[in-house]
């Protein structure tokens, strides 16, 4: 069963002077364990699509089913709770909590979930090790480089034990080397833990390594290709 299911999704922003038709009838299924990249030029609707998949926003029409739940059936506060337990986020601008250390940032979502201390500690260690930052655990995140911060963000996204992880242009602020490291980490997490990733990019280096590429043009899916794993 698809973990993400979009049917004829339209999104119109009408807060500005002119309504913006950001998505024009997008249908998309993502299966568990997939490693999907959404590509497309700037303004094509990638962020809008990821916001819907992330339960951060609601479609103007069409249905969005996430992890078997219809978004429309969730109240505002139920949606917050849903995100906490089902979805992991990596943002373009890292968006870690600046006053917390690396390990506290990772622990944070588990605290919100009310997980016991022992579980939290174990998970934090495991994940920071997986992203290669066990050395920097007790550093304030402001002391870390952009690439390191984004790796902490990946660890945080996984800490809640989500059904899938969304990353909106996670490499956009990173240099080539850091971007490569981040991609390696995400790939191996996908291989070893079967973590489902959906991320957006317009970085061609990233596109080459993706197994599934969904191309957006003007709010429509213009291409959806799956490569055989090597």
């Amino acid at each position: 069963m698809a973990i993400i299911e979009l049917r004829q999704v339209e999104k119109i922003y009408d807060s500005g002077a002119v309504p913006v038709h950001a998505l024009r009838g997008v249908s998309l299924d993502v299966e568990p364990g997939e490693f999907t990249v959404v590509v497309g030029p700037s303004g094509s609707g990638k962020t809008t699509l990821l916001n819907l998949i992330g339960g951060l926003d609601r479609p103007t029409s069409g249905t969005v089913r996430l992890d078997g739940t219809d978004l429309a059936a969730l109240s505002r506060s139920a949606l917050v709770e849903f995100r906490l337990h089902h979805i992991g986020f990596v943002f373009q601008a890292y968006n870690l909590i600046p006053v917390l250390t690396a390990e506290e940032n990772v622990e944070f979502v588990m605290l919100l979930q009310g997980r016991p201390k022992e579980t939290r500690r174990k998970t934090v260690h495991e994940l920071l090790k997986a992203v290669g930052l066990e050395e920097k655990m007790s550093n304030r995140v402001s002391e870390l480089s952009g690439g390191q911060q984004q790796r902490v963000a990946v660890a945080r996204a996984l800490a809640s034990g989500p059904s899938y992880v969304l990353a909106d242009e996670p490499t956009a602020n990173l240099d080539t080397e850091a971007a490569g490291t981040l991609l390696n980490i995400m790939e191996s997490l996908n291989n070893e833990r079967k973590t489902t990733f959906v991320f957006s990019t317009h970085d061609s280096r990233v596109v080459e390594r993706a197994r599934r590429v969904v191309r957006l043009v003007d709010g429509r899916v213009s291409e959806d290709t799956t490569h055989r794993p090597a």
Partner: protein
């Protein structure tokens, strides 16, 4: 715990702003504590002393006596009644008095006098009357002589060893007349007392006024002012049906009113102070909220409910206030404690006002817990009110919009 820790660290993201805000709370709390401590301290001191010098915490009279001051409205000087009062909880002293107006005369002059029939031992224990003797000696229990206030004695041209003649109206219209050797001169700071008081032993006064075994008031002292209500209820429950039982507040409404006016003035001043400080806290909390909209958007995206985010902001506001309250209290408490034990000596107008009431012009500060509690609660209330605006902002929080900015 999470919220407190997070809130605490968030506070220090802008050190200068936090220190300035906390300092304003500190200053307000410090000033408010000292002001209240002085006010409540002076009221307590005044009440305690006024009560000792005049009415006691409450008095028992024949019904109607207090309003008419009629000598005929007397009550029996009943040892059993006094014993019963003494056995009541909180009651520490019971003092019988027989007071009346008379004329005091010497060979040279005549003047109105307040005759005070007292139990010398009890009276002395209550208000150290013997300490006010300026010449001669204090009365003994079954004394047949008199103490005359300094001003009155001068006016009459009398001194220790001379005889004062008293005459006036006795019980039920009889004529009261007598002459009493002067055993001592007492000096009062309160001019009215100094010009008119004549003390006789209770027995002498009863004989003089032809009121054997009668008195017109029983004053009751208690252990602590805050037990007054309880004690009053007990006394009035036991004797209120046959006699009038009046609290000092009922007997001296002008003192109550004077305190109320002064108290209101202090509270208004402090309220203004807190309004200013309140705007400071509010401004800080508001800035902390507005500049972190994006961060709140992220927290919401991660699954932190708006209520929890609000709680975090509340914790920030409360912690900021507590910083001020704690430091203000730490700074004010030693001062308060010091001046509670070694009171200021007042001078000028304030001193005169107190002297007029027959009080030493001292200002002992109060360290009663209610002062600290009320200031702390006030600041906490301000901290909470300051969070209303952030709470409203957070109610409208949509992660997508918030993160877009």
């Amino acid at each position: 715990m999470l919220y407190l820790q997070l809130a605490w660290r968030n506070l220090w993201r802008n050190k200068r702003r936090t220190i300035i805000s906390a300092a304003s709370v500190f200053l307000a709390v410090f000033l408010a504590l000292l002001t209240r401590s002085m006010q409540l301290g002076s009221y307590n001191f005044m009440i305690e002393n006024v009560v000792r010098l005049s009415t006691g915490y409450m008095q028992i009279h024949q019904t109607g006596y207090w309003n008419t001051k009629s000598i005929d409205l007397a009550l029996p000087d009943d040892p059993a009644m006094r014993t019963r009062l003494m056995q009541m909880e909180h009651v520490t002293q019971v003092i019988p008095r027989l007071q009346s107006f008379a004329l005091a005369a010497s060979n040279q002059a005549t003047r109105g006098a307040m005759i005070q029939g007292i139990n010398p031992g009890l009276e002395d224990r209550l208000n150290s009357l013997s300490g006010k003797i300026s010449a001669g000696s204090y009365l003994e229990d079954a004394d047949s002589s008199a103490l005359v206030a300094d001003g009155l004695a001068r006016y009459l041209g009398l001194g220790v060893g001379d005889t004062v003649v008293l005459y006036g109206m006795g019980y039920h219209g009889t004529t009261a007349a007598g002459q009493f050797p002067i055993r001592g001169i007492v000096r009062f700071s309160l001019p009215e007392m100094n010009a008119s008081f004549v003390y006789l032993s209770l027995h002498q006064a009863q004989t003089f006024l032809e009121m054997p075994r009668l008195i017109n008031s029983l004053s009751v002292m208690i252990d602590l002012p805050r037990h007054q209500t309880a004690a009053y209820e007990a006394v009035s429950g036991a004797f209120g049906r046959n006699y009038e039982v009046l609290s000092w507040q009922q007997m001296m409404p002008e003192v109550v009113q004077g305190i109320a006016v002064d108290n209101a003035g202090g509270i208004i001043m402090i309220a203004i102070l807190y309004v200013v400080v309140g705007f400071g806290i509010f401004g800080t909390v508001m800035m902390m909220t507005l500049e972190r909209r994006r961060e709140f958007g992220v927290l919401s995206a991660l699954g932190m409910k708006r209520g929890k985010i609000t709680l975090m902001v509340l914790a920030e506001s409360v912690l900021l206030s507590i910083l001020g309250v704690v430091s203000g209290t730490i700074a004010a408490f030693p001062l308060m404690l010091y001046f509670a034990n070694s009171p200021f000596r007042l001078s000028g107008e304030a001193a005169e006002a107190m002297l007029k009431l027959g009080l030493e012009p001292l200002l002992p500060l109060s360290v009663q817990p209610s002062i600290f509690i009320s200031q702390t609660l006030t600041v906490l209330a301000i901290a909470m009110v300051s969070t209303v605006y952030p709470a409203l902002v957070l109610r409208r929080l949509e992660p997508v919009q918030a993160m877009h900015t």
